[in-house]
């Protein structure tokens, strides 16, 4: 089973086409293992990317160094997955 402990989902809002191109380039860097949940589309429209815990620092530095604004949408993906699993088990017991 793949675990996602410490992984975060960042909500990124690019302000220009140039920043969108940078985000797409970020997605192509295989070593960063970024998983776009919602792809970058147009300036002002949010993009969501899941970043493994081990790559968080590198990705955040990338975003900050290019002046791309972001917020943390999900603090810890695994916590939500555990909660989801608990809910399903409870439902099944009922």
């Amino acid at each position: 089973e793949q675990l996602f402990v410490g992984d975060q989902v960042l909500r990124v809002v690019a302000s220009s086409e140039e920043q969108i191109a940078l985000l797409r380039a970020l997605g192509e860097q295989v070593e960063l293992q970024v998983d776009f949940w919602r792809d970058p589309t147009k300036p002002g429209r949010p993009a969501d990317l899941r970043v493994p815990f081990s790559r968080l620092q590198a990705v955040k530095i990338f975003l900050e160094s290019h002046g791309i604004s972001y917020s943390i949408m999900i603090e810890d993906v695994q916590q939500l997955l555990d909660e989801e699993k608990r809910t399903m088990m409870l439902s099944r017991r009922m």
Binding site: R38, D39, T41, M73, E84, T87, S91, R92
Partner: protein, 309 residues
């Protein structure tokens, strides 16, 4: 004795639970719903479609599918709720009754069963199919880039490790090919609605090119009405338009293939996002999501019924 109304629609379910529930739905509505198998997945799971029909011969039909991207769990859950709603409302709601008296509906609730099973057993965030790619250690093809409509062009990847890998050739995935074969052999499918999550959009062709579709104006007006009726339920705001205009160029998608193969009313939904959970939308939001989607779906279905071609 099991009955479909004992099923918890407000919870997420495994593939086995959904497949079992399909049988109870058929048992509860034997004169309306039947289950057909249109093929097998890569890992040999049956591809089941619920057929809603009140009779007739090869009536005009609507194709609905949910969950081609396996991790979009609210989509399959909405599919289950919606299928139940269709069955329960027939004979009670005049709109649904009139619709099903003239139109057949084919509903594939778990369009990517291998991926869905994998999200329950091994990787909750799996999107693609589970086919092996020759020469690569990466598994799976994006089944929404695998259709023969601009196959391999912009917005799809030739890298098997990418989430948008288009596959070795168009319709390489049995999950896709089975739908293609079914719709082509049916010959009278008038609408196709492919449901995803979670960007709150209602889109139509084209995705692989920026040229407006010949029916752009009609498709756009209908989308406008549908998202307006959706928003009236809980105020959820959707954007709408062609795929290329609304998101970006995306080649090889379901709706482009359908449109290019004569299915005029081809739409794709991106269901609700709270902005906080993404693919991990809490199960408490399943019914609100399905409930608000229903009037939008019904708008499209009724339009199809009233605009034969």
């Amino acid at each position: 004795e099991r009955r479909a109304n004992q099923f918890n629609f407000a919870s997420y379910h495994t593939l086995e639970e959904i497949y079992d529930w399909m049988d109870t739905l058929v048992a509860d509505h034997p004169n309306l719903v039947s289950k057909i198998q249109i093929g097998e997945s890569y890992e040999k799971r049956p591809l089941y479609v619920l057929k809603f029909s009140t009779g007739g011969s090869n009536r005009p039909a609507v194709w609905l599918d949910t969950g081609i991207h396996s991790r979009e769990w609210v989509t399959q859950a909405t599919g289950v709720w919606t299928a139940n709603k269709l069955a329960e409302d027939y004979g009670h709601d005049p709109t649904v009754t009139s619709l099903l008296d003239t139109v057949d509906i084919f509903f594939e609730i778990v369009t990517n069963p291998d991926g869905y099973a994998f999200t329950h057993s091994s990787n909750r965030l799996w999107r693609k199919t589970r086919s092996i790619n020759a020469g690569s250690s990466c598994i799976g093809v994006d089944p929404n880039r695998n259709w023969d409509a601009g196959f391999g062009d912009a917005g799809s990847s030739s890298n098997p490790c990418s989430e948008t890998y288009h596959g070795p050739y168009a319709h390489s995935e049995s999950e896709v090919k089975s739908i293609v074969d079914f719709i082509k052999s049916h010959g009278n499918v008038k609408a196709l609605i492919s449901i995803h999550s979670y960007s709150q959009m209602l889109m139509f062709p084209y995705g692989y090119k920026r040229t407006p579709a010949p029916d752009h104006e009609e498709l756009n007006e209908l989308a406008k009405k549908a998202v307006s009726d959706l928003a009236a339920v809980y105020g959820t705001k959707y954007t709408y338009g062609s795929i290329a205009d609304t998101i970006y160029l995306a080649a090889g998608t379901t709706v482009d293939w359908a449109y290019e193969n004569g299915v005029k009313y081809s739409y794709t939904f991106e269901l609700r996002d709270t902005g906080r959970y993404g693919f991990l939308l809490p199960s408490s939001q399943i019914i609100p999501t399905a409930t608000e989607t229903w009037p939008a779906l019904l708008d499209i279905l009724v339009h199809v019924q009233q605009h034969p071609y």
